[in-house]
Symmetry: C2
Subunit: 300 residues, 2 copies
C-alpha cells in the first residue's frame, strides 16, 4: 500500500554522556522514512532551507523515498534541534530549537501523493495535520503523532484531529496529559473515546502498548545491547510499523500487532547508533533476523 509521511526534516546536534555529534540529518519525517522504506516505498512531504545538502536528498531517494514533496525554501534555513541526554539516556533536555523554515510550514501534498492509502502525520501542529487530511483522498489508515506542546496549546484542534484519524502513536506521558489522568490504561481508554480506532502508547525502554477496542496488548522493547542515542526512536517505531502495514493485504488485529513489533525492532536499531546511523546501516534482512529473535523471545 502507498505510504505518505508529513513531518519535519532537520539538522540535529546531539549530546550524550559518551559522545557528541553535530549537523546530523534528522527530523521526524527522516527517521520515519528510513525505517518505513525498509518495507514499503515512502512519499515524503516536508520542508528544508537551501542550506540542506542535496546529498541528503539523494540519499533518501536512493532508499525508495520519493522526495518530490520536499519543499526547499530559497534563502531559508533548515529546522535545527540541539538536545542532551542524561547519564542513563532516560531523560533528555532540549538545549535549543530553531524552527526556521518549519515554523511556517504549510504542507502541499503533490497531486500524485493524494491517493496514498496509508498516511502518517508526524508530530506537528494539529492545524497543519488537519490541512494534510484535507488534501488526501479517502486513505485507508491515518495515524498521527503529537506532543505536549500541542496538547497544552491547541487542544480543540487536536481533538478535531483525533476524530479524523484511525490511530495515534504517542508517549505514555502524552496519554496521561491528553486524558488528564494518572492511570495509563484508563487514560488510554479515554483517548480511544476521543475518536481513534487504535492507540499505541510508546514507553521507551519499557516497550509499548497497543489498545484497540477492549484489547490491550503490551509488548516489551527489544533488549538491545547498547543504547548510543535514543533520538528518533519513536519516529522509527512509527516508520517500522507503517512500513510493515504497507506490505499487508488487510489491516486486522494480528497484522497491527505484528506492525508494532516491526516498529519495536526498527527503534532498537535506531538507538544503537548516533542519529539515524544505527538504522541506516541495517538491511531489511538485519531487521528480519532481529524480528525473528524477538518473536522467539516472546514465544511461550
Amino acid at each position: 500500500m502507498s505510504l505518505l509521511v508529513v513531518g519535519s526534516v532537520a539538522y540535529d546536534n546531539i549530546i550524550t554522556p559518551r559522545s557528541r555529534a553535530d549537523d546530523l540529518v534528522g527530523g521526524s519525517a527522516v527517521y520515519f522514512s528510513v525505517a518505513a522504506s525498509l518495507y514499503t516505498p515512502v512519499r515524503l512531504v516536508g520542508v528544508v532551507g537551501d542550506d540542506f545538502g542535496s546529498e541528503h536528498v539523494d540519499w533518501l531517494a536512493s532508499r525508495s523515498v520519493d522526495t518530490s514533496g520536499l519543499e526547499v525554501v530559497a534563502g531559508g534555513k533548515t529546522f535545527r534541534w540541539t538536545g542532551e541526554y542524561s547519564s542513563n539516556m532516560n531523560q533528555r533536555e532540549t538545549l535549543s530549537v530553531e524552527l526556521n523554515v518549519f515554523e511556517d510550514f504549510r504542507p502541499k501534498i503533490p497531486e500524485p501523493f493524494r491517493d496514498s492509502r496509508l498516511v502518517f502525520l508526524a508530530n506537528g501542529s494539529p492545524v497543519t495535520q488537519l490541512e494534510v487530511l484535507d488534501q488526501v483522498r479517502d486513505p485507508e489508515c491515518v495515524v498521527a503523532d503529537t506532543m505536549d506542546l500541542w496538547i497544552e496549546t491547541q487542544r480543540s484542534d487536536l481533538e478535531a484531529l483525533l476524530r479524523r484519524v484511525d490511530g495515534v502513536v504517542i508517549n505514555d506521558s502524552e496519554v496521561l496529559q491528553l486524558a488528564r489522568g494518572d492511570q495509563l490504561l484508563e487514560c488510554g481508554r479515554r483517548v480511544l473515546d476521543m475518536g481513534p480506532k487504535f492507540l499505541v502508547v510508546k514507553k521507551g525502554e519499557h516497550g509499548c502498548i497497543l489498545m484497540r477496542g477492549d484489547d490491550v496488548l503490551p509488548l516489551p522493547a527489544y533488549p538491545t545491547a547498547r543504547v548510543e542515542d535514543p533520538t528518533g526512536a519513536g519516529d522509527s517505531f512509527a516508520g517500522g510499523m507503517m512500513g510493515y502495514l504497507g506490505t499487508v493485504e488487510r489491516i486486522d488485529a494480528l497484522e497491527l500487532k505484528r506492525a508494532i513489533a516491526r516498529g519495536t525492532v526498527a527503534a532498537s536499531f535506531t538507538v544503537e547508533g548516533f542519529g539515524v546511523r544505527g538504522l541506516q546501516d541495517a538491511s531489511r534482512s538485519d531487521l528480519d533476523r532481529r524480528y525473528d529473535a524477538y518473536r522467539e523471545i516472546l514465544s511461550l
Copy 2:
C-alpha cells in the same frame, strides 16, 4: 519437585487512594505460598506470634501449604506492616513496621523439608538466608529475593549469598543499587557476575526481564483491568514462577521463561484485589486461562 519457602508471615494494614483494609494476612511467604501452591505443594518456614489466628494456618493448610515449619512464639506478636499507595499506585510509603517476632527469626528447617529440590529465600537478612542454605541438602534450584536495606547494610553477606544461589528475583532499583550503576542491563550483567546463573528483574507495571548467560528476555506485565492493591505482587510473581518450576521435568531456558510468564500471571491476580484476596479467589484454571490469553498476546 518439592518446594520450600522461607520468609515473613505478617499482618498488613494497607491504604490505597480508594480504600483501606487492616489486619490482612500477608508477608512474603504467604503471598509466595498462595501463588506457588496453585502449581506445587509448598513447604513453608516462618514465624508468627500467638496473636496469629489459627484459622489462617488452617486456610494455608487447605491450600496444599505444609505449615509444620511455621514457628509460633508464645507471648510474641506477629510482624505487622502498614503501607500507603500514591494515587496511581506506582509509589508506596511504609507508614510503620513492627518486626516483632520476625526480628529474631532464626529459621529452623524441619528435617522432612531438608531434601527440598526447589528453595525460595524470600526477602530477609542475607545472614538468615545463608543459615537456611546450611540446612538444606543439595537443592536443584535456589532462588533469593533481597531489598535495599540489605544491599546497603549487609553487602558482604549478600555477596556470599549470591555466590550460593542459582537465581535472584529483585526489583530494577535493587539491580542498580546492587551493581552501583544506572543502566539496567549493564547492571544486570554485573549481578550475574556475582554468582547467580539467572536474574529476574521485576519492573512492576512494566513487566520483567530474565537475564541468563547472554540471553536477555523481557516480558511485559499482564495488562490487568484494575489495580486495587499492588502489595505482594513481587512475592506472588516468585511464587507463580517457582510453583510452575515444581511441575517441570527439567529447568531449561524455555521452562524458565514459561515460569516467569506464570509468575507474571499470578502477580496480575494479586494486584486485582486487596491483600492476598485477588489471588486467593483465583483457581488454577483461572490462571491457566489468563496464561493462555497472555501467550496469545505475545504470539506474533
